[in-house]
Amino acid sequence: MIATTWRVVGVGFSVLVILSAILLYGVEPQVTSFPGTGVGAAYWTFDVRTDDLTVLLLAVVGVVSACVQVYSIAYLHERAASYTALVTLFTAAMVTVVIADSLFLLLIGWEVMGACSYLLISHYWERRDARSGAMKAFLITRLGDVGFLFGIFVLGLGYGTFRISELGAGDISPAALTTGTILLLVGVVGKSAQVPLQTWLPDAMPGPSPVSALIHAATMVAAGVFLIARLYDVFVAAETTLTVLAVVACVTMLFAALCAAAAVEVKRVLAWSTVSQLAIMFAGLSLGTADGRHAALFHLVTHAAFKGLLFLCAGVLLHQVGSAAFVVLRRYTRRGTLRKAMPVTFVTMTIGLAALAGVPGFAGFFSKDSVVEAAWHHARDGSTVGWFVLVSVCLTAVLTAFYCVRLWLWIFFRTPALAGALGAFEDDDAMADAEDPDFSKLRDGSWLMRGPLVLLAIGAIVLGYADGLHLSWAIAGLTTVLAVLGALPAYSLWRRGADPRPVVLEHEFGADAAYGKAVVVPVRWFAKLAVLGDRDVIGAYVRAAGRTGTLASQGFRLLQTGNVQTYLTFAVAGVVALAILAGVIGA
């Protein structure tokens, strides 16, 4: 009953967000102020604003969260009430971030998102990996948020206002500007899982798949991109920050794409691809041109559609098969059953992967091309950053095509070379091959699950044309060739039944281990030190106080002999002593 109520509330809220986006479309940008508060010189109000960016993000958030809410009704049955409530709160927090015109209001939404992501990732809290993944996500994003908070202070005090709409205008020293934007960037990097704070996002995968869709497509990670787009004037003014952003984005997109190419679990591949695609958006933003910003936001929208779609498809696989690991899926697919049993999932997932890989005609193709085009224009104007971004995005396009084709072929098609064997993913259990799993119960799921899939699949195609067709044929040709270049090796490897995964990629460049040594181990040491200090220094005083009391009472107990004469003696001696004392004082 409560769960039903919450589901109605959740879907209703998402529809409300979509409705407000429709109503606000084309309205004059305006800012509404609410009474604020302040400390000393820092005074801030709680303002909301509406402009094109707000409307765009509201539409994206509304559509994706509506899909996720509807999909969740069929997908999730345990602890549904709290889950739905948290998803709704998550959406509301993202809406707060989107409409905020005050840095502090934005921070509130930003932090609530962090808390919600923690709670949602640990939805299956019985599982150890879910708990630790949630903890990791929370701690790492918190680490970034500290920088974010200080960035707000530096920028707000530097400009003398905390209103976003007034930020670009005032005077500010270049040092303060650079410091503030770099600090904000730390928060953005944490939230959007860019290098070097990238490790939490893949580990957040034990959460329910719809939540992954929400986090990866519309909220949380997109908030970082949104923030830079929102404060674009400020960031453009800070040349150094943009360069740093470009370097971070380029490193991240290649890093994440390489990791995705070696991952052996559908959701993990998708998680790394999100990191990589976000980096492409950041790369677009880091160009510092209006074209770059436009391209990044375009990519954000198309990415929201196809990444949401892909995660919901992965959710169907998890729901039906029980696992999204390649090795399990291979068992179902070696007779080619998987795609026949779940035609809708197969088709929509194919569309999503095509969009991600940049197959011509799909949404991802157009948005990626616009980023490449913006980079090319910038590079042609003689910018090193532009060249850097251009090359990185092209390389990433190759890798993206590679891992998309690899994912698609390995999970949906039987391998000719291995004649239906589990092949490259069968690591340990040779006998698992012996019997076939039960195919009879595989199906697409109810219309509640299929509806969002179809809707998002349409989005993953149509959204590419929403921006108007302005194709540069040279660039389109180049990216198509690059995609084919990536797809061919994947196909050839699959035909031979081989899936070479370099150890360094499987371990994701050893980032986790290195962080473990650099951060976790010292922190554990400090924790032990603190425990020792508490137990052996502070606790010693406490125990000593208790022991002194015990010893003293044991000593006093010796006075209690049970002998009346002893008592009397002490009483008289006490009276005498008191008399002497009184005499002394009186004198």
């Binding site: 209690q560 002999t561 049970g562 002998n563 009346v564 004469q565 009397l568 003696t569 008289v572």
Partner: protein, 111 residues
């Protein structure tokens, strides 16, 4: 006659009584020492009565009262001593330690 003479005698008797009560082992000698202390008090009362001469003979009256009290006290005291003897077989005040609270008796009290 100087007033301090009976007063000093009373002090001496009283302190001898105190010593006797605190130091003597036998319970009956303790009671005897009590009598000494009471007598010292009486001596004080009589001496001050003779000094003040208030006409009501207050000191002497009170002394008689104290003597009566002493009679009552020794009667009860000796009854207690006899009870002690009946229970323990001796009247050694030093060895009568029924008031001692050991860990066991403490537990009993707690219960």
């Amino acid at each position: 006659m100087p007033l301090v003479l009976p007063l000093l005698l009373a002090v001496a008797l009283f302190c001898l009584g105190v010593y006797g009560v605190l130091a003597r082992r036998n319970a009956i000698t303790m009671l005897m020492s009590f009598e000494l202390m009471l007598n010292a008090v009486n001596l004080n009362l009589i001496a001050f009565d003779a000094w003040r001469l208030d006409g009501l003979a207050t000191g002497q009256t009170l002394a008689i009262f104290v003597i009566t009290l002493a009679a009552a006290e020794i009667g009860l005291g000796l009854a207690i001593v006899l009870l002690l003897f009946r229970g323990h077989g001796h009247v050694d005040a030093d060895a009568a330690r029924d008031l001692l609270e050991t860990a066991d008796t403490a537990k009993e009290i707690d219960r």
